[in-house]
Amino acid sequence: MHAINYEAPKSLDEAVKLLAAHGEKARPLSGGTDLLIQLRAGTRRPEFVVDIKKIPELRRISFSLQHGLKLGAAVPCIEIHENSDMRKYYPGLTEAAHLIGSLQIQSRATVGGNLCNGSPAADTTPALIALGAQARIVGPKGERMVPVDGFCLAPGRTVLQPGELLVEFHIPAPERHSSDAYLRFIPRNEMDIAVVGVGAALSLDVSDDRVVEARIGLGAVGPTPIFAAEASKSLIGKTLDAAAIENAARLAIAAATPIDDMRGTAEFRRHVVGVLTRRALAKAAERAREANQR
């Protein structure tokens, strides 16, 4: 690995100043489970590695039924899974965080790092997209909020400008009967990169099982994670029956732009998008019906 300088700012102000001063020569370090591999392989060659794990805002999970969730970008996945609010109110995002790698990886890897790494196959990103998460970014020119479904631009590329730092995710408060689910296909039980990942979030009117809100996020089936807008919209106002789910699955397949690679063919991936969309919607709906959040 090439020589680096290591900085570990203790406040957001200090971090932003450091990142702004070093610009493109700096790379934030969160869990490091992607970055250290890239440094070793020489695919990223920052002069300055800025460890962001000592900044309190990036390490907190703050939840209330009134204000929803603020999830720090540098919270390790294992702490998400251990948090009872996360498991109860955002089970889909929690299961996405809990199926990244081994416990060794989950002890270090973070949702913020997963997003900023910019992999189309990131497991937590479709789950964030389904929840309508917004990314709070702080930089030398101030703050901005970017919806997670617009955060990734290309494999390994995001909206983050030199000097900018992803601080936290803002996720809306759960509705009375709402929930989410994330499913991925891999050719083994655990510890692999998604061939396809699908996140779904639903809010239901349980009096007639009508969909009030729906969002579907797709992973590993395009150059970036995808918000399946048409599929999501098709469900709103509908009773969540087999026909509605089938129609949404068909539209989700249409939103996917997969490629053939060693993990699967494009044709197979489109098929799996349909299967996982149906299953993720069914699972989110089952959870939403059981939920009674307020």
């Binding site: 489970t33 081994s102 060794q104």
Partner: protein
């Protein structure tokens, strides 16, 4: 020579002050700076778990962490398991159950098992297998490792039998595990 930095940390219960380059992984610092060569280098990508150490109670791949990030942490490596010449119960059970052959994965398995039992003294077989999913062993087929951890949990709790159903044990005599265990008992 590149810039070196001072790192103050705690390793196996002792405060340690060391000098390392920021680019050095914790694994390199443990092995090359501190000469704690129990933690092994396998894949260097976080897949094999041979470099697993326990940091503030959690299993971590030391190849995927910079040495400088160890500042202020409590780190346990495989060298910290035994007390003097008496083995940790996990080490003893790994010997008794022949849970190793070539041995390169063993320190990592021991540390993942330690992190598990510290948090969950009474794990089911599924929980053990899940906790060890980040450690690869190409020799044993894993069953013997799972048996050792199950047995270690029982021993730590003062039970003679595991609380949960366990992997059927191999009862054939003259197996490596018994020989090792006898050798160790001298």
């Amino acid at each position: 020579m590149a810039n070196k930095v001072i790192v103050e940390t705690n390793i196996n219960g002792d405060p340690v002050e060391l000098l390392c380059e920021p680019r050095q992984s914790l694994l390199e610092v443990l092995r090359d700076v501190l000469e704690l060569t129990g933690s092994k280098e396998g894949c260097l990508t976080g897949d094999c778990g041979a470099c697993t150490v326990v940091i503030d109670g959690r299993p971590v791949c030391s190849c995927l962490m910079l040495g400088v990030e160890a500042t202020g942490k409590n780190i346990t490596t495989v060298e910290g398991l035994a007390s003097g010449t008496s083995l940790h119960v996990l080490q003893q059970k790994f010997l008794e159950h022949a849970s190793l052959q070539c041995g390169i994965c063993t320190p990592g398995f021991l540390m993942s098992s330690k992190a598990l039992l510290d948090r969950n003294p009474n794990p089911t077989e599924a929980e053990i297998r899940y906790a060890l999913a980040g450690n690869l062993c190409r020799c044993t087929g894993y069953d013997k490792i799972v048996r050792a951890v199950t047995d270690a949990a029982a021993a730590l709790a003062g039970r003679t039998r595991p609380a949960h159903g366990t992997v059927p044990s191999e009862t054939a005599s003259g197996m490596a595990g018994e020989m090792l265990a006898k050798g160790e008992a001298k």
